[in-house]
Amino acid sequence: MGSRDSYGRLSPLWTFLLRYGPPRWSEYVVQNWTGQRLVIAVPYLWLIVFFLVPFLIVLKISFAEFSPLGRPPYEPVFRWLEEGALQIKLLVGSYVYLFNEPLYVSAWIYSIKVAFVSTLFCLMLGYPMAYAISRATPTYRSVFLLLIILPFWTSFLLRVYAWIGLLKTDGVINNVLQAMGIISEPLAMMNTSFAVYIGIVYSYLPFMILPLYSNLEKHDNTLLEAAQDLGAGPIKSFMRVTLPLSLPGVVAGSLLVFIPAVGEYVIPSLLGRTDQLMVAKLLSDEFFLNRDWPRASAVAIAMLLLLVVPIMIFQRFQNKELQAAKK
């Protein structure tokens, strides 16, 4: 029995011999670690190569010099000189441009404004909906949740497209309102900020409702009963009990709407203003139309820096949720 060490593990020689014999659980203890490493390595490597490294490349190119006729259209940042020295050329010109050019400054402000207002509308509509669902009987609850999730499974692009038919000058809303005699002239709703708000609220509403619902559903009803026994009215008990308890859900839902909304591309392209662009559209125009890769990269990095705090708050929340689910 001298083949086991003090932890009961088999020595390498025994491991080698046993590998060709029947499986033993002690063999697992030995083999376990290499196997685990392999299992960790596969998704890890994938994410590093295809998610982390690309960001480093974007970061590098954002400091490169634009050369309109080059293929690719930028000067190399790192270059080996003939003497064997490494030349590093970093330019901050693209970044300076982002914060001085009026077109860009207004696009940044407009993007944040649109994301903020849409998140607010989403919360105003989504909170009561999530509340009503969490109070419904179990059968209705599952039907309601199904109805919330169903549009999410249908094409996002087509759902945004559907609003063109509703909002345009000879669209459904104007036709109905005119037929009812409420308005005499068609309303101009297409290509406005209003249309973008509607598009974002419409597309992201499930992302607001689901975290809110999963929070509200867990609330203990006895707390509300206690508040009412102590003389709090419905509004007061909501403000003092339900709302504070649901804040984590509010934060998660709002971030899930706000973060992608800042970088939204499809909705403003289809429904939005043509005289006021959002940042994502500028990035894509800079890249595809002007072929200015360094500037497009700088826009991406700046957007990422803007969103890094909300993203980190969201991640902390996500981890907490998973921890709570374990208990």
Binding site: P23, W25, E27, Q31, N32, G35, Q36, V39, I40, P43, Y44, W46, L47, I48, F51, L52, V53, P54, V58, L125, A132, S142, L146, L147, I149, P151, W153, T154, S155, L157, L158, Y161, A162, G165, L166, K168, D170, N175, Y202, L205, Q228, P234, L255, I259, P260, V262, G263, V266, L270, A280, L283, A300, L307, I311, F314, Q318, E321, L322, A325, K326
Partner: protein, 284 residues
């Protein structure tokens, strides 16, 4: 309590109206004879002529076929990688670099698509240069690059689904199997996979839908000649509403609605059977 309940119920009704009116109007006008889409041509409607036009539209059909292939491959890849990542994060305890892995798997969930698309494309361009320089081999952007990009951003969703499913079970079943002599790989396929099978299936469907639907990332990483369905739809609807797109949307909505309702019914039935069995076990 009463007023609050009334208000939230009214908002729920309004919310569903808001969610479903656009979809229903899109379906309704797909049967309209008029090219003007939103002006109902009562004399000649309803008609199926736009459905006929849709099935004679080569560009849409070939794009749809390409999208199906890409989505199926991406979903499969995403499920394999996402399940491994979910398993590692919820079962392997602390290890060096765990926080980074957790960060890398949740970041794509909220990352604006233009950033993901741009960074993926720049990676592929760099790889192209590298391969050309090293092996003199030139690869073209197309189905392969689209699939890799889609796997990367959809695997995050699979990871979250699998991780939250695994968090609902403690690992005593797996421990027991290990104690009884099963090898880790066997434990994984005989115990863990059956436990998380619902999560794997819904993760696959989710990844398929997201890939099938993606426009922005695809526009960045696709090459000449590889147009997916969202790219074709986007280029059409930029010019305004088109009755053929309405017909396409109607078909897609019907397929999804059927699938979702069917899976809900199946899940309900399974749940009921489980409850019955539990009751019988308790009684016996």
């Amino acid at each position: 309590m009463k007023t609050q309940g009334m208000f939230s119920k009214v908002m729920l009704g309004f919310g569903f109206f808001f969610l479903y009116v656009p979809i229903l109007s899109m379906i309704f006008f797909s049967f309209n004879n008029s090219r003007l889409v939103t002006v109902w041509d009562a004399a000649n409607s309803p008609t199926l002529k736009w459905y006929g036009k849709l099935f004679g539209d080569g560009a849409i059909l070939s794009a749809a076929w390409l999208s199906i292939q890409v989505a199926a491959m991406s979903a499969t890849g995403a499920v394999i990688l996402g399940t491994l990542a979910g398993l590692v994060l919820s079962r392997f305890g602390p290890f060096r670099g765990r926080a980074l892995l957790q960060g890398l798997t949740t970041a794509p969930l909220v990352m604006p698509e233009v950033i993901t698309g741009l960074s993926m494309l720049l990676l592929f361009v760099s790889l192209e240069q590298l391969f050309q320089h090293m092996f003199g081999w030139q690869f073209d952007r197309g189905v392969a690059t689209i699939t890799i990009a889609h796997i990367t951003f959809t695997m995050a969703y699979v990871t979250v689904v699998v991780q939250s499913r695994l968090a609902g079970f403690d690992d005593s079943l797996e421990e027991a199997a290990l104690d009884l002599g099963a090898r880790p790989a066997k434990v994984f396929f005989r115990i863990t996979v059956p436990l998380i099978l619902p999560a794997i299936l819904s993760g696959w469907l989710l990844a398929f839908t997201l890939s099938w639907d993606d426009l922005v990332v695809t526009q960045f990483v696709s090459g000449p000649g590889s147009n997916t369905l969202p790219m074709v739809i986007f280029s059409r609807v930029r010019l305004g509403v088109s009755p053929v797109v309405n017909a396409l949307a109607t078909i897609m909505v019907l397929i999804v609605a059927l699938g979702v309702v069917l899976s809900a019914v199946l899940m309900r039935r399974q749940e009921q059977r489980r409850k019955r069995e539990e009751q019988m076990a308790a009684a016996g």
